[in-house]
């Protein structure tokens, strides 16, 4: 392995491996942002689950969260990608060692995609072609001294999508996108009363998605973790509430507890942006990468696989096939239960995968058994530590993964196993994920999601400001119902506006 060299702007970087695989195109992809649907039954269920005096954890809302917050069934927007979804492009995964100023070594896993792919006759790629960062993850190696000697442990220090509007022009553009991360939801809550008073477009730049990249924890795509974070941070802010504080001050505190790592704190993206002389963007070129590490494109480090070329690269568990463009277009464009569940699975389970250090996995899930209980069977997987050259015992991670999938995802989508289901999932964070769904004994329907660019599809981004406002308003009402009071009379809990009339004379 080569030494740390290059222009890391004070930090040391070493590209350990750069895997680039051509993808010949994907079907049109649609964004389905979160929407809240609070029925009276669900409201009571949440009140029963959450004790205002106890800490809220994802387990507190397991089996409930997806009943009041789900990605919308109807597609909100056809998502854009450079040169369209039919464009041939490279998806990439880069393992990067980094030693910071304090001497702490971490391994970053950077995934993303290129804007196009047009290799030369010799198979070289355009040095000025942009690579876009989709997500970053930091693996931290911890050495523990045990009775049987030193043992290496890995933990996932950070796993986030990179959210950016590459079509951003200015605040006056007609089409804007808004973030709905927990911290952003608290921000939006502080302006609900403004929307009640002002009849105008509201451009809340605190939550606008701009050309400046922002990170969003992957767990924000897991509804259970997302909802519990919103409750927990609000609850913490309330506990720390000084006597006489206003609601806005409590929300500011909650926002503080929810703050996510910034791009400036991300070693790789910070260094690349400095090399490019810009604080903007989530893109880099081969030229930029070589300035970070001159060995990055060496033959033993950079591995390129494209159509018509035999390659030893095997990033997708031996499944190096290329997705046929348009094959799944109808499925993703629907607004039914299948597409909604496919969306939930395609976002929630990868979030759990990352936190379990799993890069790709084949999972079979069903409750078609005697006691109608969720069963999760793993038939193949690959983990990030092994890709980083370290073999570790993944047993505990797999068991944790199975338990979390069953409790945080399957119980939710099946309404605590009221609905019959069978799912065959082939999830690859670095490539395409294939999801087969059968509900209530029906035939399997297949969906393919380009996981390598799933930051474009995250449910915490919407181009409808009203939707962001609605989610914030509904959570405000739930906070009032669940955390601020233990004694709710029927009807009075409906946003505390008892007596409001619709269509009154």
């Amino acid at each position: 392995m080569h030494q740390f060299v290059g222009n890391g702007m004070g930090d040391k970087f070493r590209v350990r491996q750069l895997v680039m695989v051509e993808t010949s195109g994907n079907a049109q992809q649609y964004r389905r942002p979160y929407e809240t649907v609070v029925t009276p039954g669900v409201q009571q269920l949440v009140m029963d689950r959450l004790d205002p005096k106890q800490t809220v954890t994802p387990a507190s809302l397991a089996g409930v969260a997806n009943q009041f917050i789900v990605p919308s069934a109807a597609p909100e927007k056809a998502v854009a990608i450079p040169y369209g979804w039919e464009q041939r492009r490279l998806r990439f995964m880069m393992l990067l060692d980094h030693i910071g100023p304090a001497g702490v070594e971490i391994t970053q896993v950077i995934t993303g995609y290129s804007e196009f792919f047009d290799p030369s006759l010799q198979g070289s790629i355009d040095p000025h072609m942009n690579f876009y960062v989709n997500s970053t993850m930091a693996l931290r190696r911890v050495v523990a001294r045990t009775a049987i000697g030193n043992r290496d442990y890995y933990n996932v220090a950070d796993a986030a999508h990179v959210i950016v509007d590459n079509a951003w022009e200015n605040v006056h553009q007609s089409q804007k996108e808004f973030r709905m991360r927990p911290a952003d939801v608290y921000s939006t809550m502080t302006r609900i009363h403004l929307d009640q008073a002002v009849n105008a477009d509201m451009n809340d730049t605190r939550t606008l998605v701009t050309q400046l990249p922002q990170k969003s924890w992957r767990r924000n795509a897991n509804t259970t973790a997302y909802a519990s974070a919103l409750f927990e941070n609000y609850q913490t802010a309330m506990k720390l509430d000084a006597f006489g504080q206003t609601q806005d001050q409590i929300l500011s505190q909650a926002r503080g507890h929810s703050v996510e790592q910034s791009v400036a704190q991300d070693p790789f993206m910070n260094a690349i942006n400095k090399i490019r002389g810009s604080q903007n963007g989530n893109a880099f070129t081969v030229h930029d990468l070589l300035r970070l590490d001159p060995h990055a494109m060496d033959d033993d480090i950079a591995l390129l696989s494209y159509q018509g070329q035999a390659s030893p690269i095997n990033p997708g568990m031996g499944n190096n096939t290329f997705f046929n463009t348009g094959a799944m277009e109808v499925g993703w464009g629907a607004a039914n239960q299948y597409t909604q569940i496919a969306t939930i699975l395609s976002h929630s389970i990868p979030a759990i995968m990352v936190e379990s250090a799993i890069a790709n996995i084949i999972v079979h899930c069903t409750n078609r058994n005697e006691f109608r209980q969720p069963q999760v069977l793993v038939s193949g997987m690959r983990d990030f530590p092994s890709m980083a050259g370290t073999t570790i015992d993944m047993t505990q991670f797999i068991e944790k993964f199975k338990w979390r999938v069953a409790n945080e995802v399957l119980n939710d989508v099946s309404f605590n196993n009221d609905l019959d289901y069978a799912f065959n999932l082939k999830l690859d964070l670095l490539g395409d994920s294939i999801i087969e769904i059968s509900m209530s004994g029906g035939p399997f329907e297949s969906f393919t999601l380009p996981s390598f660019c799933d930051a474009l599809l995250v449910p915490i981004v919407t181009n409808n400001d009203q939707r962001a406002l609605q989610v914030a308003s509904d959570f405000t009402s739930l906070f009032d119902s669940v955390l601020n009071s233990n004694d709710i009379a029927p009807g009075a809990s409906y946003h505390g506006q008892s007596g409001a009339n619709w269509g009154q004379l």
Binding site: T39, G333, A500
Partner: protein, 450 residues
């Protein structure tokens, strides 16, 4: 076998709408049907086919059983409630006019049975002038001028019926009756003699008893599934029962097709306990247009304003027309970088693409059983021209949409119950045909289908 779709079909039929075989909702007319649109989008049922091909730019799905109780009335629910109001007033108005006409025409009274003749004592002092005055008043009625209607149903969030508190209350008002009771010499610009007023009050009391008791027809719901649609339809059931009872009593005199369909009653009464229906609802996600507005926001205010709008004028400018946007937080640099090459410009987005008996406090009968025992009544359409009532081409007009209001170049429908009820605009009954007794269309044929 779907339970939800037939339930929705029955609800819509009660509102005077019909569903085609492909799951699209239409306004029934005398000859054919007209597409039912909202904001330029076709109203459809959430069938498997429509869910698979949602086309949100051209379709909007009717799915009130998935309700967010934290929100205000949804666009779809608002229009449905207005259609229900329209249908109830059509039925009520037809009964009032027909019976008064009969009460003032001795030549036709020999046809009445002793039971039917009871109402004559209520209108014994009415004469031809009373009938003329009633027609004048009815010509001035408007679907969106709620204060003039025979009956008006609205929804209240958090209220009481009797001594019980409910999450949603369907509130039933009788504005026409209440105006008469005030005793003013004029009603909506029409002079009324004392005996005219007394005859009309007596007739209204006969048709629907206890209108003078506040809240007697109000109904509440604490449904854990969809309290709004439950409360609304429970209120409809409360007034439909005595009305259907009366329509059956006057079989052969009142048009059969006035009967208010109530095939939804059994399912409604079992809404929270029907597990098959619940599973189907859970399998049908929330659809755009059914989400409801955030309480207290400008969107909800605009919606409520539309509900009570009384002038055929364009609504207040949309939020996009209010000048410079309000900006919170830090501004970005004045000179932004151009869009990244390869990415589409931000300004050119790619858009995505019952057999249960029905009893009321007034002693209403099992009208459903009666309807079911007479299939011919259920299927009847049209009631001939002998009654002479005609609000012109009411219900036949495609509903004018809000989009058409803000875009004058777009199609603007004429005044009609259909347009009023679903378009949120003001216009008068009879406007198109020139009055209740003019024009070629037949009211019953046009919009009343059982």
């Amino acid at each position: 076998m779907s339970k939800m779709i037939p339930f929705y079909e029955a609800l819509l039929e009660t509102a005077g709408l019909t569903v085609t075989s492909d799951g699209c909702v239409s306004i029934k007319t005398s000859k054919d049907s007209k597409p039912m649109t909202m904001k330029g989008k076709r109203l459809v049922l959430p069938t498997r086919e429509h869910q698979s091909n949602p086309s949100p730019d051209t379709k909007i799905m009717f799915h009130p059983l998935v309700e967010n109780v934290m929100r205000g009335e949804s666009d779809v629910f608002e229009r449905f409630r207005m259609a229900i109001n329209g249908r109830m007033n059509v039925v009520f108005g037809t009964i009032v006019h027909t019976l008064l006409q009969l009460g003032t025409s001795q030549a036709e009274q020999h046809k009445l049975t002793p039971e039917q003749s009871e109402f004559l004592s209520k209108v014994k002092n009415a004469d031809e002038k009373t009938l003329i005055a009633l027609k004048k008043i009815m010509d001035s009625l408007s679907a969106t001028q709620h204060q003039k209607l025979f009956v008006s149903i609205f929804l209240k969030r958090g209220g009481t019926v009797g001594d019980k508190r409910y999450a949603r209350v369907g509130v039933v008002h009788f504005p026409f009756y209440n105006e008469l009771k005030k005793g003013d010499p004029e009603l909506h610009g029409v002079k009324l003699r004392v005996k005219d007023r007394e005859a009309l009050i007596g007739l209204l009391d006969y048709i629907l008893p206890e209108q003078d008791i506040a809240g007697v027809y109000n109904r509440g719901s604490n449904s854990t599934l969809a309290p709004s649609i439950d409360a609304l339809m429970q209120a409809v059931k409360a007034i439909a029962a005595p009305l259907n009872d009366l329509i059956v009593r006057f079989e052969g005199i009142l048009p059969d097709n006035l009967l208010i369909n109530a095939d939804w009653v059994e399912q409604l009464d079992n809404l929270d306990n029907d597990r098959e229906l619940l599973a189907e609802i859970r399998s049908t996600p929330m659809q755009p247009g059914n989400e409801g507005t955030v309480p207290g926001t400008e969107a909800e205010k605009q919606q409520q304003a539309a509900n009570t709008q009384t002038a055929f004028t364009a609504p207040a400018g949309s939020s996009q027309q209010q000048g410079a946007p309000v900006v919170l937080g830090a501004q970005r640099p004045a000179t932004p970088p151009p869009a990244t090459p390869g990415w589409p410009a931000a300004t050119a987005p790619a858009p995505a693409s019952s057999s249960a008996p029905v009893r009321t406090s007034s002693g209403g009968t099992d009208f459903e059983a009666l309807v079911r025992s007479k299939p011919a009544l259920q299927q009847a359409v049209g009631w001939g021209g002998s009654h002479g009532w005609n609000p012109g081409q009411a219900w036949q007009q495609a509903a004018p949409t809000r989009a058409s209001l803000s875009n004058p170049s777009g199609p603007v429908g004429g005044g009609s119950w259909g347009g009023n009820a679903w378009g949120g605009q003001q216009s008068s009954w009879g406007q198109q045909g020139g009055g209740w007794n003019q024009g070629g269309g037949q009211w019953g044929q046009q919009q009343v289908r059982l």
